[in-house]
Amino acid sequence: MVDRSRTLRITTHVLLVLGVLVIGFPIYYAFVAATLPLELATRVPMPLVPGDHLMDNVEQAWRRGDLGLQLFNSIVMALGITAGKIAISIISAFAIVYFRFPGRMLAFWIIFVTLMLPVEVRIVPTYEMAVNVFTPVNRLLEVLSVPVAIDPLGYTISMRLQWNILDSYFGLTLPLIASATATFLFRQFFLTIPDQLAEAAKIDGAGPLRFFWDVLLPMSRTNIAALAVILFVYGWNQYLWPLLITTDREMMTAVIGITRLMPSPDDAPEWNVAMAGALIVLIPPVIVVVLLQRWFVKGLVEEEK
């Protein structure tokens, strides 16, 4: 019996270690390549022991990919999406759970359908929105044909509002900020908070905003932390949307930028530089996930409910 369980234990560990190695191999391989000079990195087969050119390659990647700027853009985008989503979701969940008002269910459903409309299925019209955010307003004005001013000669001057968010931080973040998932998560959480807590606060003299700020927000800390990890990764890893709306190199995000470091068939096969770049780009979200693992796992698993 003891023998059997011991064999079982060893097999388990062996299999898990194998799994870890298989899962980790692409990164290790990339890491080794990133430490090698070009001759070694392109040798077939490539050595599997790290070399000493890591700093060179990192520097090359940093300079050529303009990673300083792009990482900054990525951070702004990821943090903007994280903060924005959490902020608007938590207050809308608060409104839906703690108030009764005409149109409540309608608002709930409008938010709910966003669950079914990932950015990928509406890229062209969303892009058009980014070209001019006021498109729907203009369309509305057209339909209502509001003459803003009529000049003496009888021409109708109509008003057109224009706000282009291409190649801007607004463009990178705003369209990705609305999220049914986060709203639902907070709604679920608020529903588990006993009614008596809000009643006690009411009797203590707290109004809705005070209750939100003093009680609900501090109580949501863990949920916020969990969500923040997930949203940071989500924001950092965005690809399609930044690809569409950034043409200016100054506004490019790191994940997009890094794919441009990949050697094309005509260039020198500088995979060592490309891999150094890839590592730089994947490290920030990986660190966030690993360090905040406890919250991150909690956040993920709660999403299911």
């Binding site: 006993p194 008596q196 009643e199 006690a200 606060a201 009797i203 203590d204 707290a206 109580m219």
Partner: protein, 366 residues
Amino acid sequence: MAEVRLDRVRKSFGSFEAVKGVDVTIGDSEFLVVVGPSGCGKSTLLRLIAGLEELSGGDITISGRLVNDVEPKDRDIAMVFQNYALYPHMTVFDNMAYGLKIRRLPKAEIRERVGRAAAILQIESLLERQPRQLSGGQRQRVAMGRAIVRNPSVFLFDEPLSNLDAKLRVEMRVEIRKLHNTLKTTSVYVTHDQVEAMTLADRIVIMNGGIAEQIGTPLDLYERPSSAFVAGFIGSPPMNLVEGEIGQGAKSVVLAGGTELSLNSPLPQGWGGRSVTVGIRPERLRLDDSKADLAISLGVELIERHGADTVIHGVLPNRERGEVIVRLNETPTIAQTDRLNVKARTADIHLFDAETGKRLELEKAA
């Protein structure tokens, strides 16, 4: 001077009427207990006083001020909840101080008031802890402390002891009453536990299905229950209620199963043959082998010996459902299989109308 007046207070949830017109005035410094079975509308009534529910009808006045449309925070009340409702992320001190902070009291005064309340409740050593580091009894004290620091004119309690274990419940019950004797704050206390009600209350409101069945002192309710419902609710073990009939000639009561109890003083003539519910408290039954007029013969089913007293579960002859409980202060030597003769005084017999459940007044009749 905090007097709380409820005037035909009603509350409906949709088509369901939870409180159907309650009239009661809670005098200054009075400790009023609202008791009744689960779902009878006690909490709703309390929440109406607190302003947590909107009235569907009637008026509520606190210290002479009509508060129908006044927000809870402006009613000068404090409430203690069954689950304590402590803010989980705040220390005990902050929990107690929160209401005072919102009211922008000076820091020094807040500290002073919290300190005083903590001293009264003996929780000074807990002030820096968080609620999750406290035991149930300690949380209960903090919840009370939060109410006390505000120094309100009315305390509202919604089953504050229900989440405690039996021993602690008895201890806290005593403390709450002592506290009231010190602070003399007008209090409304909701519970489903009649023992709590009897021991705490100056007066009791007993509710049933949204209606106040009876309002009175604990002894009123005990001695002169206004209905069979009240009779069966108050007392432990509860009053024996047996179907019966007033005998022809209105000089006796015939219990289901045939036992006839003749009464010292005759009932009104017209009552002869009337169906009634006969109530006799278990502790008012005495062992009696003399075959006296008021003797009831019981088959013994179960004997519980509590030490201080003995509770005997018996059945009337020829009747399955007519259970009669006898509570004796002595420890008689009776075997399970014995038959038993018990008797009651006429004054200890309560009669209720079989249909309406309302009390039939013997004295008045006589």
